[in-house]
C-alpha cells in the first residue's frame, strides 16, 4: 500500500471512527430530552436550550476528528 492510499484510508477512518462516539452521545442526549419533554411538557424551553448546548459539546468532539481529518487530507 503506497503512502497516498494510506493517507486516504487514515482520513476516512479518522472521520468515521471519530463520528461514532459523538453520534451515540447525541442520540443519548436526544433520548433524555425527549423523555424529559414527555414527562414535563411545560419545561420545553429550558430543556431545549440545555439540550442544544450539550449537543454542541458532543458535536465538538466530532469536530476535533474533523480538524484532524482536514489536516491529514489537505495540509500534510
Amino acid at each position: 500500500m503506497d503512502a497516498e492510499a494510506m493517507k486516504m484510508l487514515a482520513v476516512g477512518l479518522v472521520m468515521g471512527l471519530g463520528a461514532l462516539g459523538p453520534g451515540l452521545g447525541i442520540g443519548i442526549l436526544g433520548y433524555g430530552a425527549m423523555q424529559g419533554l414527555a414527562r414535563n411538557p411545560e419545561a420545553r424551553g429550558p430543556i431545549m436550550t440545555n439540550m442544544l448546548i450539550a449537543i454542541a459539546m458532543a458535536e465538538a468532539i466530532a469536530i476535533y476528528a474533523l480538524v484532524v481529518a482536514i489536516m491529514l487530507g489537505f495540509v500534510f
Binding site: N50, L52, I53, A54, A56, M57, A58, E59, A60, I63, Y64, L66, V67, I70, M71, F74, V75
Partner: protein
Amino acid sequence: MAEPKKRGCLGCSLPIVILVAVVAIGIVVIGFLAGPIGQAMFHLDLPSWIVVEKPAIHLAAPHLFEIGGFPITNTMLAGWFTVIFLVVGSWLITRRMKIVPNRIQVIFEFLLGWIYDLCESVAGKENGRKFFPVVCTIFLFVAFNAWLSLIPGFGSILVGGGGHEYELLRGANTDLNTPLAISLVSCVFVAFYGMKSIGFSWVKQYFNFGPLLRSIGGIFKGKINFMDIFSNFVNAFVGGLEFLSMLIRIISFTFRLFGNMTAGEILVVIVAFLVPMAMSWVVYGFELFVGFIQALVFAGLTLVFVTMAVASHEGELHENKNTEEKELLKEGT
C-alpha cells in the same frame, strides 16, 4: 378598490409563481449537472464558466503584508472588520435612543436583553450584572464574526498574484490564533473574578502544596504522621488535576470554535463545488445556526466557569439554586 381579488397562490399571480418555480428548478438541475457528481454521471459538455474548479483549501492564514515587521493576515483584517462593524453599529443604534424604539433598536434590545437574562439566571442578580459586559462581548464578537463571513462577496476579494492569490478577508475564527486569544481572555476573566471574590485561596485550589510540605517538615521535628502526609499528598494531586482540567478547558474552548468555524467554511466551499448554486442555500442557513450556537456555547461556558469560580466558596455557606444547570454543563466538558 374594495378587496383585492385572490388569485393564484402564495400571493402572486399564477404565471409569476410558475416562472419562479421554473427558475428555481432550473438552477437546481443546472447546478447538479455542472457539479462533479452530475459530470461523472452524464458526461455533458457544459460551457466552462458554469463548471466550478476544484477548491484549494489552506488552513494557515496567509500573510498579506507587514506593518513594522509585524505580519498582518487576512483573518486579522476580518477580525478588525468585525470590531469596526460592531463599534460603528452600536454607535449608530445608540445615537438616538427612544422610549418607543425603532426597528433596529428593538432587535438589539431583544438580543442584549436575552443575554442579560441568561447572565442573571446563571450567575444570580448581582454577579450577572458584573459578568454581562465580557460575556456579551464574547457572544457578539463570535456570532458576528461567523455571520459577517457568510455575506456573499466577503471571501471573494482576492489579492496577490502569480499563483499566490489569497482572500482579502476570511472569518477570523478560522485561524487558530483568534479562538486561542478569546479563550485566554475568558480564562483570565475567570481567574480575575475568582481571585477577587475568594482571594488567594483561588490559587490554592490549584497549587495545594502548603499542607503537604508542612506535614513532610513535621518528620524532621519528630512528628511522624503518615496518614496526614498521604491525605495532603492526595489533596495536592487533586489540585494538580484541577489545574490540568483548566488547561484542557482552554484547549477545548479553542478547538471547538476553530473546528466549527473552519468546518463551516470548508463545508460551504465543498458544497458549492459539488452541487453549485443549488445546495449552498441550505448550508448557509445551517451555518447561520452554527455561528449562533457556537457563540452561545462560548459565552455560556465562560459565564458558567466564572460563576463556579466565584461560587466555589459561597456555595458552602448557602445553597446555590442553579446547581443543576452548572452540573449539566460541567459534565458536558
